[in-house]
């Protein structure tokens, strides 16, 4: 069939995305785990530590953005692992010897992760609402939330793909989650950064998770956002471009060696 390169790129990305979603359905425990851990964390924070933490408002309303952000850690480490498996297990070799579009092979992993993460986020929202979360977001705010979350999720997915490509094995690739899951804790996700020692405060206030969380929180419950939204877009927009570029270079380089 004679069709354009763009058509085949979309077609192949679609096939690879469906494959990735099938994987999720085959091992639903991984989705449950990636949602279950943050939800347990949320319960722990709200019911055990919540009383002792002063955030000036309902604590559940304060931490929902943070819980959503921790949610992606586990899911993206699964992505890193499965990219590493495809790379080392011969599947990518076979696919690259076929007419399949190379961009689609990685794109499918990214889109699959994106869909999985959105689903996880939705589940966390529902759990939060069940235990008293009351967002005040307007329709426009929700669109903003969707946009900024999408940017964040796509950036993290591409970063996970890069990890998968450089990791020699699936085990190494799975270490990716530590890195991503650790960052929200030293941000404004669970406690205001002003309460931290000054050296930690400096780090927490300037790492990418804080502007993201402040933006999400502002959109959800109306706290002031200021220029945090700009910082969030710069951080994760930059991460998205850089990771996607590095991933395609790494992928292409395999052809030369």
């Amino acid at each position: 069939m004679r069709r354009s390169a763009l058509y085949w790129t979309l077609h192949d990305s679609g096939m690879m995305t469906i494959r990735s979603i099938r994987h999720m359905l085959r091992s639903p425990e991984s989705l449950l785990l990636s949602v279950g851990l943050p939800v347990m964390l949320m319960l722990l924070f709200v019911y055990v530590f919540g009383g002792a933490i002063q955030t000036g408002g309902e604590y559940i309303n304060y931490i929902v953005p943070g819980v959503i952000v921790t949610c992606v850690g586990y899911g993206s480490s699964m992505t890193a692992m499965s990219v590493a498996l495809d790379m080392n297990g011969g599947l990518f070799d076979r696919l690259r010897s076929m007419p399949a579009r190379p961009a689609a092979l990685l794109g499918g992993h990214v889109l699959g992760t994106y869909v999985k993460s959105l689903l996880g986020t939705l589940l966390v929202f529902l759990c939060a609402i069940a235990i008293g979360f009351r967002p005040s977001a307007t329709l426009l705010d929700w669109l903003g939330i969707f946009a900024i979350l999408s940017l964040f999720l796509l950036a993290i997915s591409w970063l996970a793909v890069v990890f998968g490509l450089v990791a020699g094995s699936a085990e190494t690739a799975s270490a990716f989650s530590f890195f991503i899951m650790f960052l929200p804790y030293v941000s404004s996700a669970f406690v205001p950064t002003e309460t931290m020692p000054s050296w930690l405060h400096a780090f927490a206030a300037h790492q990418p998770m804080t502007p993201l969380i402040e933006t999400l929180r502002g959109l959800l419950i109306g706290t002031p956002i200021g220029n945090q939204a700009v910082w969030a877009v710069v951080w994760f927009g930059g991460m998205l471009l850089l990771s996607a570029t590095v991933a395609s270079i790494l992928f292409h380089r395999r052809r030369k060696v």
Binding site: M1, W8, H11, D12, M15, M16, R19, R22, H23, R26, S27, G89, G90, L91, D93, R94, L95, R96, S97, M98, P99, A100, R254, R255, K256, V257
Partner: protein, 314 residues
Amino acid sequence: MRAPAIQVRGLKKSYAHKVVLDDVSFEVERGQIFALLGENGAGKTTTVRILSTLIQADRGTASIDGCDVTLESDRVRQIISLTGQYAAVDELLTGKENLHLMGGLLHLDRQTVRRRATELLTLFDLTDAAGKIVKTYSGGMRRKLDIAISLLGSPKVIFLDEPTTGLDPRSRASMWEMIRQLAREGVTIFLTTQYLEEADQLADKIAVLAEGRIVAEGTAEQLKAVIGEERLELHFHNSADGRRAATLLHLPMEGDGLQLSLPAGGTTDSLRSALNMLHEHDIVPATVNYRKPTLDDVFMALTGNTEKEVRHYA
């Protein structure tokens, strides 16, 4: 005149400081089964990866069906299929889903994919397992699915990198049968192997790869002529027996005068008459061993004696 199925000229490939392919040239005719024979680490996989457009050679040219593997890689990818050393199947999908995914990525239309998948599942006796997740498959079933996937697009040239390594003898035999069947249908097959026996069983043409070069090329018969064929080795209790046997059979004594070896590649008649002759003269060998030439013998014969000059037969 049509181009040969595979044509390779002066291929070179090095990694860091290690020269893997030093000057590799060969040709494969259409519909032939070609075996690239070499020890572990000889550069077989590297050759396959270059021919299947996965990596680029440092020097030299290679073409499949007249299309250059670097300059016309898109065309090449339309006519080849690659089955790597390790099964490239998706463990979490079922056999059928694997075929459908790969068919889609080959850009075949839906009906073709469905029809080919059903045909191949039947051909490879996987119909019952089609709906099961590949994780539950045995090694042999995985290999079969792997090959089935590689046939989806009805390729003209099939690359099989060590297709039987790690298979039990029964699966190996059925793999051989499958490869012969494909060749009968006119497909060109390029396979790599570490086993002389496998090349002997399957290949119309064998090339031996050692130290980055093709050190011998020809049919199994032509290679055997270089290294000698299967032999029957007779050991005797004492040198008197040995000497009498040597005279009777017109063979030179070997080793310490206790050993004879007679060619076993001919008919059973010649073996029987030789053994009968010894029996009639009351000469009873102490032990009888059947010896097949191994890949080691090929290398000994080829690289030991001849300073690695390239030999051409045919």
